[in-house]
Amino acid sequence: MNEKLFVIPFVAGMALLFIILIVKGYKWISSLSKIDRLRLINALKSRRILQSAKDIFMECLIHRRIFKKNMVLGYMHMSLAFGWFLLIVVGHLEAFVAEKSLAVPFYLPIFFRFFETGKEFAGSKIFAALMDLLLLFVLSGVVLAWSKRFYKRLFGMRRTTRLQYGDQIAMTALWLIFPLRLLAESATAHQFNNGSFITQTAGSLFFNSNTASTLALPLWAAYSLALGSFFVALPYSRYMHIPTEMLFIIFKNAGIKLKKRTNSFTELAIYSCSRCGICLDNCQLNNAGIKNTQSVYVLKSIRNKNIDDEQLFNCLLCGKCQVDCPVGIDLTSLRITQRIESTLQYNASYAYLENQATTKAGLIYFAGCMTHLTPRIIQSMQHLFELAGEDYWFLDKEKAPCCGRPLMLAGQYDAAAKLIRNNTTQIIASGAKKLVVSCPICYKVFKEDYQLPGVEVLFHAEYILRLMNAGLLKTAPLQKRIIYHDPCELGRGSGMYEIPREVVKNSGQLIRIKNEQEHSLCCGGSLGNLKISQAERNLIRDSAINEYLSYQPEYLVTACPLCKKTFARNRNMVVMDLAELVLEASDEFIKRKKLKGNKVTNIRELETLIQS
C-alpha cells in the first residue's frame, strides 16, 4: 500500500471546501442588485481594493479590534489566524526552495517533514527553526483557546457563546490539528533528524526509535484527518466566518449596505459572524436574565433558518453589541431587516390622518408620541420657542401622527412608510425651513428615512445650543452635579454625543462617568423590544440607575422622553430632560441678574431688563 495515501482526508476535505466556497461565493456575488454589483466592480478596480487588503490583513489575521478590547483575547485570535497563515506561507516557501520549483504538489508544504526526510537544501536549518517557531506560536493560541473555556475572565469575558454541533466538531478538529502536527513532526524528526528546536526535542522526549517508526505514519494520518474534518465541518460551523469575512470586508468597502429587505449581503454579514461572543457581555438583557436573544444567537438562528419572533423581537435595539463587534456587522439594522421580513403581512391604515390642515410657519415643532407623555418637555420647548421669538407650528399638537420609527423598529416598514408620506406632505406644505424634534427616536427616522428638501432637521439639543451660541438663550450654570445619559437612538443611533454635553456644561456641573458615549447604558424602556416584560425592564433600568447613583449625581439629565419616563419611575433620582434643565439654568441666570419678579417672555424683554 502506498503510504502517501494518508494525505487523502486532507485533499478531499480541501476540495470539498473549495467547491462549497466557490458555489457560495458565486451565489452571493451574482445575486447582488445591479447597482451593488457595479459598486463592487468599481471598488475592485479602484484603490479601495488596497484598503480592503489592509482591512483583511488587520482584522482577519491580526484581529486589531479584538486586541483593542482585550490583549489576551487578541493574541489568542492572532496566534491562531496569523500564525496558521504564516505556517502556510513559510511552509510553501520552504517547499519551493527545497524542490527548486514552484510546481510542487499542493499537499507537499502541509506534510513537508514527512516527505523531505533529511535532505539538505539552502537554508533548510533556518526554515526548520522558523517552522518550529511558528508552530509554537499557533500552539500557544490553541492552549489559550482551550483555557478560555475555563478562565473566561482572563480574556475580559464573562460569557462565551454556547456552541452547536457543527461548531463543536470543527472546534475539536481545529484544536487537534496542531498538537497532532507537532507529534507527527516530532516522530519523523526522531527518525530522520529533520526537525528543529521544538520538534527535535519533543521527538526525543516522546519517542524511542521503535515507537517513532511505528507511530509516525498513524500520526501523520491523524493530522491529515483532523485537517480534512475541519475543512468539511467549516461551512457548517462558525469558522465559515474565516473565508466569508474577507468577502464581507470587500463588499463593505465597496459601499454596499444592509437594505430594508434581506439580500445576499445580509447573508454574507450573517456568515461573517465568528460567534466570538464579545457582544454577549455588552448586552444589558443579561441583567434581566434573558440569555438567548443576543445578536450572536439571533445571527446563528437566522443562519440555521430557525429564527422565531420570541428571539427576534426580544432586543432593546440599543446598539451596544455592535460597538465592539470585531467584524463590524451592523447588528441593529440586520435585526430590523429580519423583523421586516417576519412581519410582511401586517399593514395598517392611517386614513384618519389625511386632509389635515397645514399651517405656514418658519419652524415646525414635532413632539412625537413620547414627548406627549412627558408634557413638561413640551412646555419647556414651547417656552424656548417663545424666548427665541420663533414663528413656529406645533405640528402634532392635537392629532398625533407617529414619526414612523416605532413601526420601523417593529419591522412594519410598509406601515411606517405611509406615516412618513403623510408627515412629509404636511412638512413640505408648511414651507418651514427647520424641523425641531425633542425625541431622538423621531430624530433618527426624520434624518434617515424622510426626504425633506430644504428643511433642516434639528434635534432639540442642537437647536438649544444654537440659541445659546447666538446669545438668544442665556443660562447660568446651576450648582448641581449632573450625569448626562446618552439615549441609544441619539448616541449610538445617530452619533450625537457632544452637542447635548455642551448644553449640559452651560447649565450645570457635568460629571464624566465610565459607561458613556458609545458605551452608554440603555434605560430599558426601549420601544425596540416587543417581548420583554415590565419586570425585566425594571431590572435593566435599576441596574443602570444603581450605576449612576454610585457617582452621587443630583440630576440625571437625558435627551429622550422615553428614557426620562423610564428612569423617573425609579423614585431614587431626580430625572429631567435637557430642555427642562436649560430652562432652570435660564431662570438661574435671571435670578443672578436680580431680575426675578419681572416676567420675561422673550429674549428682547430680557435684554431690555439687563440694560435697564
Binding site: H372, L373, P375, E398, A400, A535, N538, K565, R569
Partner: protein, 352 residues
C-alpha cells in the same frame, strides 16, 4: 392568681390604630398609642364624605377618641416618630424620637398607606397643569364647603375622572388593585353632579370594581339619574390648551375607537401605596414585607393580622388597601389576636 397587666404599643393613630387600642384597653391591657402627626385620625381627617352613605368621617374619629376617655390605662403620645423596635426575650423595646423608649409585651402596627404620587404619571400633567387634581385634592375642596371651580375660578362644564392612577399599573410598579378608588370616583362624581347639575361628568376606567354590597346602587344612580358617562379605556395623555382647558386622548375600548375631548378639570383617582416607614421594619429583618411592600401576614387566610414575627400584629391599610368599614373590622380582628397572644403568654409565664 391575679392577672398581671400587659402593655401593648400601637403604632399609628389612624382609625385602625384607634379602634384596636380601644378594644385592647377594654380587655384590660395597658395601651400606648404612638402617632407621628400632631393629631390622630390619619388620612380620614382630609376626607369629606365616605361611600356608600355620604356620611362624614368626623364622627368616626371623634367617636373613637371619645371612647378613649373611659380608659385611664390608655394613653396617646403624638408628634412622635419611632426610630426602631427591638425584640428581647419576647418583649419589645420601642425607640422613638426625643429619646423616648417604651417597653411592650405586644406591638400593633397600624401605620396605614401612602397616597400614590400622581406626578409619577407625567402624561396626565398633575403638578404641571393647574386643572388636574387628585381625588384627595377634590375631597379637600369639597370639605372646604366652597363650590368647585377651575383654577381660574370658573364653574367647570366638563369634568373627567381617571381611574386606576398608580393601581394595576406595572409601569409605575404597582400591579395590585387599590380597591376603593372605583367607588370613590363614583361617589365623588355623584357629589359634583349634585353640586353642579349642569356639569358633564365622564369616568375613564379599565374595569369597574364595585365590590361592596351597596356600591352598585351608587353606580346605577350615577348612570341613570345623573347621566354620568362611563367610558372604558385608559387615558394615553392629557395636554393643556391655550385657555387652560385640558385635551384628553384615550381609546374607547368598547367601541374600539380613539377618542379626543376637551374638559375643564381632571380628577385622578390616586391609589394606595405602601407606607415608606415599612422599610424600617424590614431592613432590620424584624418583619417581612409582601411583593407590594405592604406587611406580610403570617397566614393570609387565618391570621391576617399576625406578622411573621410573634408578638407584632398589623391592622388596617398597612396590610393592603381597605375601605373604612373594612379597616374597622380588621382592627377588631387584630385586637382578638393580640388578646389571644397575651393570654397565651400569661399561661406560659405562669407555668414557668
Amino acid at each position: 392568681m391575679e392577672k398581671e397587666q400587659k402593655h401593648v404599643a400601637v403604632i399609628g393613630a389612624g382609625i385602625a390604630g384607634l379602634h384596636t387600642a380601644n378594644l385592647l384597653a377594654q380587655s384590660g391591657h395597658k395601651v400606648t398609642i404612638l402617632e407621628k402627626e400632631k393629631y390622630p385620625g390619619g388620612h380620614l381627617n382630609q376626607w369629606h364624605h365616605l361611600f356608600p352613605d355620604h356620611s362624614s368621617p368626623e364622627w368616626i374619629i371623634s367617636g373613637l377618641l371619645d371612647e378613649q376617655l373611659q380608659f385611664d390605662h390608655l394613653k396617646m403620645i403624638s408628634s412622635t416618630e419611632i426610630t426602631s423596635i427591638e425584640k428581647n426575650n419576647g418583649h419589645f423595646a420601642i425607640n422613638a424620637g426625643n429619646e423616648l423608649r417604651i417597653y411592650a409585651d405586644a406591638v400593633v402596627i397600624s401605620t396605614g398607606f401612602k397616597l400614590f404620587d400622581a406626578r409619577q404619571k407625567e402624561e396626565y400633567g398633575y403638578g404641571l397643569f393647574k386643572n388636574v387634581i387628585t381625588s384627595a385634592d377634590l375631597e379637600q375642596s369639597l370639605k372646604s364647603g366652597q363650590p368647585l371651580t377651575t383654577a381660574s375660578g370658573k364653574t367647570p362644564s366638563r369634568v373627567a375622572f381617571i381611574h386606576c392612577i398608580g393601581s394595576r399599573d406595572a409601569k409605575c410598579g404597582n400591579t395590585y388593585c387599590s380597591k376603593v378608588c372605583c367607588i370613590t370616583g363614583v361617589k365623588q362624581a355623584l357629589e359634583i353632579s349634585e353640586m353642579l347639575p349642569e356639569t358633564e361628568i365622564f369616568c375613564f376606567y379599565m374595569d369597574l370594581r364595585l365590590y361592596g354590597s351597596k356600591f352598585d346602587d351608587l353606580y346605577l344612580q350615577a348612570q341613570k339619574k345623573h347621566k354620568i358617562q362611563f367610558i372604558r379605556g385608559r387615558l394615553s395623555e392629557a395636554a393643556e390648551t391655550h385657555d387652560k382647558r385640558l385635551q384628553i386622548k384615550a381609546e374607547d375600548t368598547l367601541s374600539g375607537r380613539p377618542l379626543r375631548m376637551e374638559v375643564d378639570m381632571i380628577v385622578l383617582l390616586a391609589g394606595m401605596e405602601k407606607n415608606e416607614a415599612h422599610q424600617m421594619f424590614s431592613s432590620t429583618k424584624l418583619l417581612e414585607l409582601d411583593e407590594h411592600g405592604f406587611f406580610k401576614s403570617k397566614n393570609i387566610q387565618l391570621t391576617r393580622n399576625e406578622t411573621t414575627q410573634p408578638g407584632i400584629f398589623i391592622a388596617g391599610t398597612c396590610i393592603c388597601p381597605m375601605s373604612v368599614n373594612e379597616t374597622i373590622e380588621n382592627a377588631g380582628a387584630a385586637s382578638i389576636l393580640v388578646n389571644r397572644y397575651l393570654e397565651h403568654q400569661q399561661l406560659t409565664n405562669h407555668h414557668e
